[in-house]
Symmetry: C2
Subunit: 361 residues, 2 copies
Amino acid sequence: MNHTHVIIMAGGIGSRFWPMSTTKHPKQFIDILGVGRTLIQQTFDRFKQICPASQIYVVTHVDYRDLVLEQLPELSPNQVLCEPSRRNTAPCVAYAAYKVREIDPEATLVVAPADHLILNQPEFEHIIDIACKQAQRTHALMTLGIKPSRPDTGYGYIQFTDSNDSIDPLVKKVKTFTEKPDLEIAKQFLESGDFYWNSGIFVWTLQSIIAAYEKFMPDLAELFANGKAKYNTPDESAFINSVYQVCTNLSIDYGIMEKAKNVNVVLADFGWSDLGTWGSLYTHVDKDQEQNGVIGDNVMIYDCKNNVVNLPNDKLAVIQGLTDYIVVESDNTLLICKKSEEQRIKQFVNDIKHNKGENYL
Amino acid sequence: MNHTHVIIMAGGIGSRFWPMSTTKHPKQFIDILGVGRTLIQQTFDRFKQICPASQIYVVTHVDYRDLVLEQLPELSPNQVLCEPSRRNTAPCVAYAAYKVREIDPEATLVVAPADHLILNQPEFEHIIDIACKQAQRTHALMTLGIKPSRPDTGYGYIQFTDSNDSIDPLVKKVKTFTEKPDLEIAKQFLESGDFYWNSGIFVWTLQSIIAAYEKFMPDLAELFANGKAKYNTPDESAFINSVYQVCTNLSIDYGIMEKAKNVNVVLADFGWSDLGTWGSLYTHVDKDQEQNGVIGDNVMIYDCKNNVVNLPNDKLAVIQGLTDYIVVESDNTLLICKKSEEQRIKQFVNDIKHNKGENYL
């Protein structure tokens, strides 16, 4: 029997991808690459190669429940875990772990965000396989590290060292997790060769992650353990709603990974991007000779270089004389912004909330 | 009795104002300045100060008949002269002149494009009054010259000299009409003080313009004279359709004004623009401290200078980091273009016709 169960985390709102990504329709539910499948659909497709669809769960905000079921019709409602409020990843993973324990106490869990891009599927499957085997063999908490291709200051880094009990040369012992570095530090990380990007993709046995919750977040462990009789029943939803009113708001990185001693990393290089910004999207779309990445069937460009353009297919557009810009329209909302200023998109969205109200977002 | 009759020419397609101006809905039918009245409505309002609404006629392509009647509900259908095809201004003015002759043979005609901007209404009325009186006194063909404010290479110029029989110091004798000059010549024109812009606004008595047609375009005169019994009857439309199949395609400037000897110009300075391009529009809209002219209720701009932005009121837009651009959307069509390249808009429209077909325009 395949004991691998996959938890797809799909509760984010992706405000840096505004205006395509909005609170009502966040990035993971959008075909942001223009390939015919939304990001969560691509993630689901990817994991169906790893375990049966019936062992894939999506944790999301209750507001997105219908979107998830619509985009992933193979899921039963019981596979969509609805959070009544956003409490970061520690409660999210705990909810999934305690629920899955009532289905398969021997489970190995793969936890992954819904909105990442992975280009090399066979290599991804190979890495997940290594991570599962290592987790099962040693009960280590596994995280996937991504080989850095540039001194990016937008990611956390994982410093690693050799491990005594690794089943594969790609498995290393985690020495430290580091915050997002400044550029100078990031360059040093890259040169040293001992630092990989923190992907936010985790693998662990149910047994070991529950032990970790009990050790490092005992209050949270107790809260979710109390639901034993309610998971996978009509009472689950009311139980979770009450738990989320009192549970802590913390990431699993802070709450567990940075504290646990038995943390390993698998060194991965499978064409990964978290698609966190328009700039990171730009590196993954097809580009013309002038390095414009254009999505949209009716966009005509003249004298343009290095732009990322994403317009609805039914929109006719003529764009002339832009270099290094983002031009995006979605839901009758237009953004024109220098690529170098894309970090300010969150600010723009806040300004809109402040000046125009939530209804405009 | 007021014998002044006004002919508003409204048959153009204004392709340089794409995408707001399209073949289906040209510039004159758009509130391009965002003031609450379309250009043809503003023109109509202007002339209602000069003669009764019942003496104002609009010549347009038959496709725009309903648009005219919708936007100018004071007009009766008989005041909307429909051309079955575009034949430039000589047939257009002849049609109106021969038709009005059957209504008021003593008429003085004021002929003006539908899509010009005039800021100083009292001065405009004063100039029209001078032109009418001079036309009635001397039977001169009157044209309005506009005091040039810059060495514009987009206009024709009128060179003038003193006149012996002028009723007002502002009335001069036309020496030559010149084509659009190059920049060096335009600068010399401006320095000399003897050249004004050719506005395309004319005043003449019915008697003198018909005499001019008979002298300089006798074939056209005969064609339209043949309709004497049909104007202002149910037979007018069929008659005009047959005339337009055979009549010449020529401007009244080439056909008559440049040949006639009795042409006078009134020197005018009433805040005029032909709104021929986005750049000329830019000079007439309200601008913010950074010289951005923005039309649209929900446009937020950051780090922008000297742009002209015209977006639908229901469209939310964030525009960051543009200087000297045109950003316009209309009917789900977007244009982003450097102001300095706006002469290429016609080319863009042709490219779209060629690549996408007429349906996209």
